[in-house]
């Protein structure tokens, strides 16, 4: 491979990785925008989503490494699985909000954050115990097709990820900008008290934010499983931490910012692995997090300052 081809290949790799981080970053951003709460449970809602997706796919008869369905039935089965996974993850997010975070809503300080850490830890260890810490094989129902463009290989799976992620993010953006609930959401994000006075049901808005964020995390989980072809109890932590960095980089609370941040972190990870060393990838990513906070705390696209009162 030529140097250029390697670079382009790493861009393609980074794009798939970034699409997943972006989906995950949206959940952080939605919740933070409204509650100013870093939701550590989100890490493992994603992980649980991957397992839920596995169960759903298997119940649709999509098992093992062979392509069983083709054409429209395959697409339908996958879409149905994605929908069920998103619904289940969304409900998990709503339950977490309702039973562990709502009672903490007006408690000052790090209490609510500590609660989300506890929830995250519970999900993590529950899955660890249930799966005996084993990695599980994921169904691979999609035909294995590669496109070769001037030394660069693009896999069909990657293209599908980009399309699904783009559609989901576009849908979310539309929802936040256009729908009545989305507008209410933005109103609460700007000033919860004023929004309440204007008749916005804050509880409902928070619930929707958790549902949407967790559903996207679930989608990211299932896409993760299909793309990497495996899942394990430990996948949430690293991906979640990077996704959070992406949200901060793009400007936390800012929906397009999370998408841009996700893609950037994905690219930084692959380019950094190529030209520095994979073992320093985490160090590079966290350095970026710290530099962002020092020099541009509002993020690349963020309008609001994180130290507002």
């Amino acid at each position: 491979m030529t140097g250029t081809a390697v670079f382009l290949q790493q861009l393609v790799n980074g794009l798939s990785l970034g699409a997943m981080y972006a989906l995950l970053a949206l959940g952080f951003t939605l919740v933070y925008g409204i509650l100013e709460l870093i939701n550590f449970a989100h890490f493992n809602v994603f992980m649980v989503g991957a397992f839920v997706g596995l169960i759903v796919l298997q119940s649709f008869g999509l098992q093992g490494q062979t392509v069983l369905l083709h054409g429209a039935p395959l697409v339908l089965a996958l879409l149905a699985s994605l929908a069920v996974t998103m619904l289940a993850s969304g409900v998990l997010g709503v339950l977490i909000e309702r039973y562990t975070l709502r009672p903490m809503r007006n408690v000052r300080g790090p209490m609510a954050m500590i609660t989300t850490i506890g929830v995250s830890y519970i999900l993590f260890n529950l899955v660890l115990l249930l799966t005996n810490a084993q990695a599980l094989n994921y169904p691979d129902p999609m035909p294995s097709v590669d496109y070769h463009l001037g030394g660069v290989t693009i896999r069909l799976k990657a293209v599908i990820i980009w399309v699904v992620a783009a559609v989901l993010m576009w849908g979310l953006n539309l929802f936040v900008r256009r729908s009545r609930l989305g507008k209410a959401m933005r109103a609460v994000a700007q000033d919860a008290e004023a929004a309440r006075m204007m008749g916005v049901e804050v509880d409902q808005v928070v619930m929707i934010a958790f549902f949407a964020g967790s559903a996207l995390a679930g989608a990211a989980g299932m896409i993760f499983g299909l793309y990497y072809n495996f899942t394990q109890y430990s996948i949430g932590y690293t991906a979640g931490l990077r996704a959070f960095t992406a949200a901060v980089l793009g400007g936390i609370g800012n929906v397009p910012g999370a998408m841009v941040g996700g893609l950037l972190i994905g690219l930084i990870e692959t380019i950094g692995s190529q030209y520095i060393a994979a073992k320093w990838a985490d160090v590079i990513i966290f350095s970026i997090l710290i530099f962002t906070l020092v020099f541009r705390p509002a993020g690349l696209l963020g309008a609001q300052s994180p130290n507002r009162s």
């Binding site: 491979m1 390697v6 490494q65 094989n137 993760f224 996948i235």
Partner: protein, 411 residues
């Protein structure tokens, strides 16, 4: 923090999980203990239990056969994982070593699993002249004469192994790459764990000696999911072969993704990838063609082993892995030491058993076992296997899904 005496006996570090009486025990028997120290909870729990059962089985069979005369041997099972560490915890291992050293009926110990725990335990056991036989800790430092002052202050070796150290497994495989597979170049990966790093280091040194071109060395984060960037980088160097030092946590992802990005490169690893997860999680066709090594002679076709596997599976409801076999052998070594002391008519103490173990010759499941003056196995045979799907056999059956290639050249 203040425990009553009764509680202290029961719990000490609190890590005695169970010490169940053997059903055929005779009341008059004098009871001695064989310690088993493993990370039985947390992320390593599953693997640790397979090892545990291997040692338990040896003890059970020894008691049943009556070969121990008027004594009965019971396992004293100590967990060296803590919730605080989330995995194996060297501090707990040190506590357990003190517990073992402070219990007069303990004659020897099987364990630990990780070299990190071994480093914490060795000086304490050394001062107490209590032998420990590890079925899986392969870091050469602990038994190296260079560090004898730190890890063996008592002066007599107490850290015995029924596995070969990384000092042989890696280099022998490098010989195999160079001489048998005729690989001209290699790219090295490890999983940032002590085992994987040590293995890859040892391979790298020997590969250079053999004139192979080392194209690069990188380290995988076992918690990360995407290795496509590293693999793309590797693909660009066009290596003839890839060697991976590490376990299946990173291995599952590496095997899957390397199948897509560098399908035509020779790929291999150490005993860390000879795991059922290679088939159940990584799966075929990705695993097809990977080489792996075992730090012991290949004995799987031996009917003795087949019977043993059946017995193990029946007794504990799970199939044994490689380390279950070395753990069984480790317990056999301890038992042989005890029998030698009995035969010589000496009193049974940890120190006499240690002396006996140092010169013991045992026929283990993996073949004849004896130790050099540092406590390492005199046999340095490394067996090479290659994964090859057998659709007629169960997917998780390691012995069916790979084939024996031969003994790696030793030089």
């Amino acid at each position: 923090m203040v425990l009553s005496r009764r509680n202290a006996l029961r719990g000490a570090a609190g890590s005695v999980l169970l010490a169940s009486a053997s059903p055929i025990a005779r009341a008059a028997d004098k009871v001695y203990h064989l310690g088993i120290t493993l990370p039985l909870t947390g992320a390593d729990a599953e693997a640790a239990h397979l090892i545990l059962h291997g040692a338990q089985l040896a003890i059970k069979l020894a008691n049943q056969s009556g070969e121990l005369g008027d004594i009965r041997l019971e396992p004293m099972i100590l967990n060296n994982a803590t919730a605080t560490a989330g995995q194996y915890d060297p501090a707990q291992a040190a506590t357990n070593a003190r517990k073992l050293a402070g219990t007069r009926t303990v004659l020897a110990n099987v364990g630990p699993e990780m070299s990190g725990s071994g480093k914490a335990m060795a000086p304490i056991l050394s001062m107490a002249s209590l032998a420990t036989i590890t079925p899986s800790s392969t870091a050469p430092d602990i038994t190296s004469p260079t560090y004898a002052g730190e890890f063996d202050p008592g002066g007599k070796p107490i850290y015995f192994r029924t596995v070969t150290t990384d000092a042989y497994q890696g280099p022998n495989m490098a010989n195999f790459y160079a001489e048998v597979l005729k690989a001209k170049s290699v790219y090295l990966l490890d999983d940032s764990g002590a085992y994987g790093v040590g293995l890859a280091n040892a391979f790298e040194a020997q590969a250079r000696k053999k004139g192979m071109k080392v194209l690069g060395r990188d380290r995988l984060d076992p918690k990360a999911a995407d290795y496509s960037a590293v693999l793309t980088k590797i693909a660009a160097t066009k290596p003839a072969s890839l060697y991976y030092g590490g376990t299946m946590q990173a291995g599952v992802k590496l095997v899957k993704q390397s199948y897509q990005i560098i399908p035509h490169v020779i790929k291999g690893g150490g005993d860390g990838i000879l795991s059922p997860e290679m088939m159940t999680a990584a799966g075929f066709p990705a695993a097809e063609g990977w080489y792996g090594t075992n730090a012991s002679p290949h004995v799987v076709d031996d009917p003795k082993l087949a019977n043993w596997v059946a017995l193990y599976t029946k007794t504990y409801g799970v199939a044994p892995d490689d380390y279950a076999i070395t753990a069984y052998d480790a317990a056999l070594v301890a038992i042989a030491g005890i029998k030698a002391v009995q035969k010589a008519g000496k009193p049974l103490t940890a120190a006499t058993v240690r002396d006996a173990i140092a010169s013991v010759h045992v026929n283990g499941l993996q073949g004849p076992i004896s130790f050099d003056k540092y406590g390492d196995m005199t046999s340095h045979i490394v067996a090479v296997f290659q994964f090859h799907q057998d659709k007629s056999a169960p997917l998780g059956d390691l012995n069916k899904q790979m084939r024996y290639v031969g003994v790696a050249p030793q030089h």
